[in-house]
Symmetry: C2
Subunit: 156 residues, 2 copies
Amino acid sequence: ARPRVGYFYSGKKNADLFGESLRKLRVRDYKSVPTVIEETSSAYDAVVTLFTEDVGTLIVVRSGQLVGVVSRKDLLKVAIGGNDIHKVPVSLVMTRTPNVVTVDVDASLYDAAVLMMRHEVDSLPVVRDSGNEVVGRVSKTTITRAFVELGQYRDV
Amino acid sequence: ARPRVGYFYSGKKNADLFGESLRKLRVRDYKSVPTVIEETSSAYDAVVTLFTEDVGTLIVVRSGQLVGVVSRKDLLKVAIGGNDIHKVPVSLVMTRTPNVVTVDVDASLYDAAVLMMRHEVDSLPVVRDSGNEVVGRVSKTTITRAFVELGQYRDV
């Protein structure tokens, strides 16, 4: 049961605390390991890696630096296009920097969610100092996991 | 600035209100229009529909009733398998009921998020009376949208 003093708060006020708590969650604490592939790989290699890692998007790197991202959607398009996906390099299929939306490791998870909604992407490479050094990834799965965690708080 | 009375609440207590507010969100209020395809369609038709509707998963129906779901992942698998996807029916590729995880329209969005995490799926058909009548869909995008909305509450 909530203490009576709680009635001084309106529903709106609770919602404010809510938003504040949510915005405190950090990308740093929720990011997962980045799933990367070298830009010299074939589209076929990318498909295999997508399945073995069971992710929706791969981060494409050159010497460990972000050069692009490639999604199930990109690969499905090339696979049905009648191309030999063993011969098509992933670099031809990927979304290329600077068109890749990234999030800084010091950003909030809320910022990451806003970026994914605004740019209509399912995941973001997590970078350091807004550069091209990839240190993780966040996705709509990450947000869903955080949402479940927040919903688990119960009244005492 | 928060009223001093707020200090009677510990951080934990705020978190409790948080969880309570989150669990009040309903599937009914957040669901989107279901993107469906007839089970007699080809895998190729399914790919085209995925692109035109820009969704990750299609709900497969017979006479308006749920019979399965088919994802980008399912279609990517068949596309690289060397099959003629114009000839493969979507019913051969889909996940079939009763193996499809659904959520009732009267459930909470929290329940939907828990189901997606537990069963490792990206979206759920929304059904009425836990039956096979499809009335919508929720996905990790739906959860991300709700997360952004909750984070927008500001202190007054």
